[in-house]
Amino acid sequence: MELLRILLSRCVALFRGRRLDQELDEELQMHLELAMEEHLRRGLRADDARAAALRDFGGVTQTRERYREGRGLPLLESGWQDLRFGLRHLRRNPGFALTVVLSLALGVGATVSVFSITYAVLVHPYPYADADRIVYPLLADQSGRLDWAQLTAAQVRELATSDVVEKLSARINRSMALTDHDFPESVTVSCQTGDSFSMLGVPALLGRNLGPADSPDGQEPQPVLMLNYRFWRRHFNGDPDVVGRTLELDHKQYTIVGVTGPRFGWGGNNGNIDVYLPQKLSNDLPADVSFYVFFKLRPGIPRSVADAKLQPLFEQFAKEVPGNFPRRFTVKVQRLKDGTLRDLGGTLDLLFAAVSLLLAIGCANASILLLARGSVRQHELAIRSAAGASVARIFRQLLTESLLLSFAGTALGVVLAYSTLGAIIAWLPVNSFPNEADFHINVPVLVFSAGLALLTGVLFGILPALQMVRPEINPMMQTGTHKIAGSVRRTRLHGALIVGQIALTLLLLTAAGGAIEGFVRMMRVPLGYDPHNMVSVSIPLHENTYTRWAERVAYFTRLRDKVAELPGVVSVGISTNATPPDSGWNQTFALLGRPVNEEQQALVHLVGPEYFGTLHIPLLQGRLWDAVEVKRGATLVLVNQSFAERYYPHGDAPGHSLEVPGLKGQPPDMLAAPGSDGWMQIIGVVADSVDDGVDKPIRPAIFMPYGTFMFMGTQLLIRSRSTPETLLDSVRKQIAAVNADQEALVHGNGELEWWIRQEPAWARGRLLSGLFAAFAGLALVLAAVGLYSVVSYSVVQRTNEFGIRLALGAQRRDVSKIVLASAGLWVGLGIGIGFGLSFASSRMIAHWVENSRDDVLVTTAVCLLLVAVSSVACLLPANRAASVDPMTALRCE
């Protein structure tokens, strides 16, 4: 009851503060007057009486303060007061406040957004149950190259019974056409075996998942399908009543039984699966139908054990179907995320290291500024303390200000993180991260970075208050500390922070320099072909169409000729698998009259004779095929310059023969010309063009007429007179004129320049060099600002000293020298340490930054840049120190 009463009266006091203050003042005034009158009556003179009254009272301000504390809710009240005071203070020093806030915000924002991406892509990319136990077998050949294992239905069933396998999912993906529309629309279909959805353990969004009952043993699968979420949104506008309706694929009706969840992307590498169909696994399938398999390991089975257990099984499979397997191999099961880790892991780790550096630099910068600010404020704090503020009160006030700065920095950092997340995702190389990845701000990292920023602010913000605890108010007030050199301890702390900041900045700059240099070099690589005004159009065939060899060759030729008729088209080349810059099919080959060597591999390209002219690849030696040779599937090949120089260094490649034993047809899908896997004569040599990605050296290549080996589709490479995008519609019309059922697919905008930008190495290079350059630039600015403020504050503190020096005859140059000497020591030390760090980590960086070399030039350039920026940051305040007017400086006292 009593407590409640006190609280109530305090709350009332909170809102009537001003009036209560007046009343108290009146009361105290009264008290002093009465006391004075009494002293006067005793015969003291007026001013003595007043002094005596005040002495008896003992500290009016302190009494008032203590009274106030007892009156309202002091913490809340003074907190509010501190907040307003802090805001006023920061508004008066906008440069300081802004720099601290930005330093913290940049660090927090960059760290949070990059880590959020790392988390979404590498740590937790899949929505599936126990995703870490879901694996797929890859086969490593002798050179360590990893390849997919393809299994027959019988082999899949045998693998499913292995004791390391808990559940297994096998699939065949194919392209089908939606045939209930005017125009056939191509959809990507993934046919999944019965256990697939139960292995993944994700409930359907609508309806149900496909299950074993949809593909019962010994029967054809049920005519049912499941829609992928994205396809459902795109094609059905997210219609909730879609379950139970039918969809016509390749002129056959299927009932829709369900829609997958939004993050579900099983079956494709880049989210391109539209529809899931049930797939049977019976023996009556053609022997050449092969499956990609995924399975869930039983709990507690390490992958090495699975590798060992599966090795004999796969060796037995290889004996059954030798064509599907390399000659010698080891089984290596991979987790779902292993591919992403290989492609992107290093890049993201490196970026995360970079943003961590940026966070450290940002925090160091904020610390430096707060410290410098604190030393200037010693005088102010001393006065406040003398005017009745307790140490705790000053402590609270500084804490409020630091918290204000830290919170502002952190909040801005969070905003930055949100706004940069999307931009960085857009720069991620496509296809190199799982389409299931769900990007959102990672809360634990947000808390961590925000905590670090807050801690920095608080720690360095209240440091001046900690020094106040030592009661040396009088000397501090009287000597005006801010005019003499700062204490040794604090200077050392400043120095250490500056050294650390410079060192980390140099490290970041070196890494950025390396990344940019590598990327620029990659962009300057001579391609060997002309990608300008070129577009690639993909022509998929429907199942069981053009199953005879001659028919299919003629069809492809007719499509090419029809497109070539267009007036906007310069030339058209058929390229089944040869769209640069990453083209061809890696195959083992043999040379007639030379011993067989398994390591002897080349990229086999299936093209038409117009391919070379269209891409501007010159013929160096011999001749191309003529139309008749293409039509009859002549066993004549061309090789590139790398091939010729490597295997026929005397320039005598034409006339020799080679053999690619892997080119065996598998009707009705894969059609091979007679003699495709036999000896073929080399008739010409073409110039080198990039064929293994823009980041890797050109590999030996073999070019065969496209009829030699045909998949279920081909591509047309079209050179247009102007920008190709205007041409695509007429190309589609020309194709439809040949076959109304034939759709034409374009990846991206189809242009060959787009294909280059899609190269993982290219996109990684752009991501790394872009972000690194941004981070390093920010770090450089932060370091420069930090250095500038420390030197500036030290100059302000030593104005008086410089005045004396100048008055005693020192030259202005000497004063500059004094300032520069201490700053120069820090910078030099920082650069030295940074150099050492860069050197120590250069091996690591070179490992992750593509095409990076230990480049002395880059390191030197970066050092020079840092020295130049630091010099400017130091010279400005040094000049100010040198221009001090001795008289003014001395009068400052």
Partner: protein, 111 residues
């Protein structure tokens, strides 16, 4: 400052104020402070300012009340007087104090 002025135990000052108000009736802050000094024959010289937080404390507890009145020099002044609760409280506080004083006396006598 203040090295020759004794710091008065918090509870003690509260009781002194209550007792002063009981014997003198309504009184302003200066009056209370002087009265306490006079009663002690100026042997206890307090920082007169400390009386005000004590008065605030007592008011918040509801033991005394404050009303504006007119002082001997014809100025507006705040007069403090005991409430009924405060009057009752004096007994308790006195008992308390005597217990402590007795304990102190015994302890000191033992030396």
């Amino acid at each position: 400052m203040g090295e020759n002025k004794s710091d008065v135990l918090q509870g003690t000052l509260d009781l002194m104020v209550l007792k002063t108000l009981e014997s003198m009736g309504p009184q302003h802050g200066y009056g209370i402070a002087r009265r306490i000094e006079q009663v002690s024959n100026d042997s206890l010289r307090l920082n007169q300012g400390t009386i005000y937080p004590a008065l605030l404390r007592l008011r918040q507890r509801g033991w005394i009340r404050a009303d504006w009145g007119t002082s001997e020099n014809n100025r507006r002044a705040r007069y403090y007087s005991l409430t009924r609760v405060g009057r009752r409280q004096i007994g308790k506080e006195t008992e308390n104090w005597e217990r402590i004083a007795a304990t102190m006396a015994r302890l000191l006598a033992d030396q």
